[in-house]
């Protein structure tokens, strides 16, 4: 076992892990941050997306020991300090950007990465960026709509499909 230390959602976090322990497992099992979901466990679905040093990564495809010293942010850090939802989260609620909600943590983390780099994405850019996030309930229409709305763009012309 190896002792790892990192900053998770602004607080110091540490624990003893095996070499093979995934970052997703460390977050969920050691830190009880179960908002990071493991959907496919084969790097396809994106439900486990977290930010490591500001960049979106799949926590199921990164070893915990590789995150030594890193600044990690999970879905649990997304809401405002008073518990109210951030613009992206609220947009998902307002535009019905989820059904079962399993993919939503990854969708929100990816969306926030996208809007950081590209504050006013086109619909095509949003869809392209979500390549690695799979939703099996709603299709992507309302997810795309929510992200467009969160970027401050008028989505009234995006008809429901």
């Amino acid at each position: 076992m190896t002792e790892v230390k990192m900053t998770v959602n602004g607080k110091p976090a540490s624990g003893a892990v095996e070499g093979r322990t995934l970052l997703a497992s460390f977050l969920r099992d050691n830190l009880s941050l179960t908002g990071t979901h493991i959907g496919c466990d084969t790097s396809q679905c994106g439900a486990c997306v977290v930010h490591v040093n500001g960049e979106a990564v799949k926590a199921c495809t990164m070893l915990a020991v590789e995150a030594e010293g890193a600044d990690v942010k999970t879905i649990e850090s997304m809401a405002n300090p008073d518990g109210s939802l951030t613009v992206i989260q609220q947009a998902f609620q307002d535009h019905h950007g989820l059904q079962c909600g399993f993919c939503t943590p990854g969708m929100i983390m990816s969306a926030s990465s996208l809007l950081k780099d590209n504050p006013k994405p086109t619909e095509a850019e949003v869809r392209h960026y979500l390549d690695g996030n799979i939703c099996r309930c709603t299709g992507y229409h309302n997810i795309v709509k929510a992200i467009m709305a969160a970027s401050g763009q008028d989505v009234s012309a995006l008809a429901a499909e």
Binding site: T2, R20, V49, V57, T61, M62, L63, V65, E68, D131
Partner: protein, 263 residues
């Protein structure tokens, strides 16, 4: 996954020493290796993590006008930093996998793995790049030796890839939507002294140069120059995603589209 130890060297020299251990294997971005380990298709006793090696990261212009990309540089960084120097390469890097994969996966890992459907080998071969290792420099034409096979020796790692910069280049891929790897993709690079065409995703032998198309395009660089050219389907990968004949057909179509994007 079977369990393994992880060591995290800070320099190439330390990494090479660590790779001398029994059953040691290098770990770069892990976007292929970690899923492989999960499937228990590999059983290393030690993973030597290359991601802490500063000297293997970054994109810079070399004195000889070549674009030098550190082996540990992730795709997202190449997509951004190569754009001003070699947009054809940056465009390829920007469309590998998905955004999260591009934040971890590295050029060195991709070329060392030489997946027959990976994107980077097409750019490396199509540019006539030089693969630099801890021990030597290897021309792209000598580096790729077939499906998942390269000229790398045991314990040898890719520290840098040096790209000559063509007048123009374009990568056109037909995505296999489940894996997001190319089903077939073609990298076309036009240099002052000729054209190189590299194909990935198609052949049982991995990435290859389509010399017939290169000759035609070196004569006249337009889509019409390719008319009538085709490859035999019997040496192509044939699986549930597409027959050999379909892949051979796609090679011609992707090559035409790549050239079409450049003229």
């Amino acid at each position: 996954m079977y369990d393994f130890d992880v060591v995290k060297p800070a320099t190439v020299a330390e990494a090479i020493t660590a790779l001398g251990q029994d059953e040691a294997q290098p770990l770069s971005g892990g976007q292929t290796l970690i899923p492989t380990l999960k499937a228990r298709l590999a059983m290393p006793s030690v993973l030597v993590s290359l991601s802490g090696i500063e000297e293997m990261r970054g994109v810079r212009m070399g004195d000889d006008g070549q674009l030098c990309v550190g082996g540990g540089t992730v795709h997202a960084v190449v997509a951004k930093e190569a754009q001003a120097h070699y947009p054809g390469l940056a465009g390829l890097a920007a469309r590998i996998g998905d955004p999260a994969v591009r934040n971890r996966g590295t050029i060195g890992g991709s070329v060392a793995n030489n997946d027959p459907s990976a994107c980077y080998p097409a750019a490396v071969l199509g540019s006539g790049a030089t693969v630099v290792t801890n021990a030597r420099e290897i021309a792209a034409d000598d580096f790729f030796e077939g499906m998942f096979a390269t000229a790398l020796d045991e314990g040898e790692i890719v520290t840098e890839v040096r790209f000559p910069i063509p007048e123009k280049a374009h990568y056109e891929k037909f995505i296999q939507p489940a894996s997001r790897f190319p089903l077939v993709a073609v990298f076309v690079a036009k240099f002052a002294d000729g054209v190189r065409v590299a194909v990935t995703g198609a052949s049982e032998e991995g990435v290859f140069r389509w010399s017939e198309a290169e000759n035609a395009l070196s004569g006249t660089f337009n889509v019409e120059a390719l008319s009538g050219l085709s490859l035999p389907g019997d040496s192509m990968i044939s699986d549930l995603h597409g027959s050999g004949d379909f892949r051979a057909h796609l090679v011609a179509v992707m090559t035409k589209r790549a050239v079409g994007a450049l003229v």
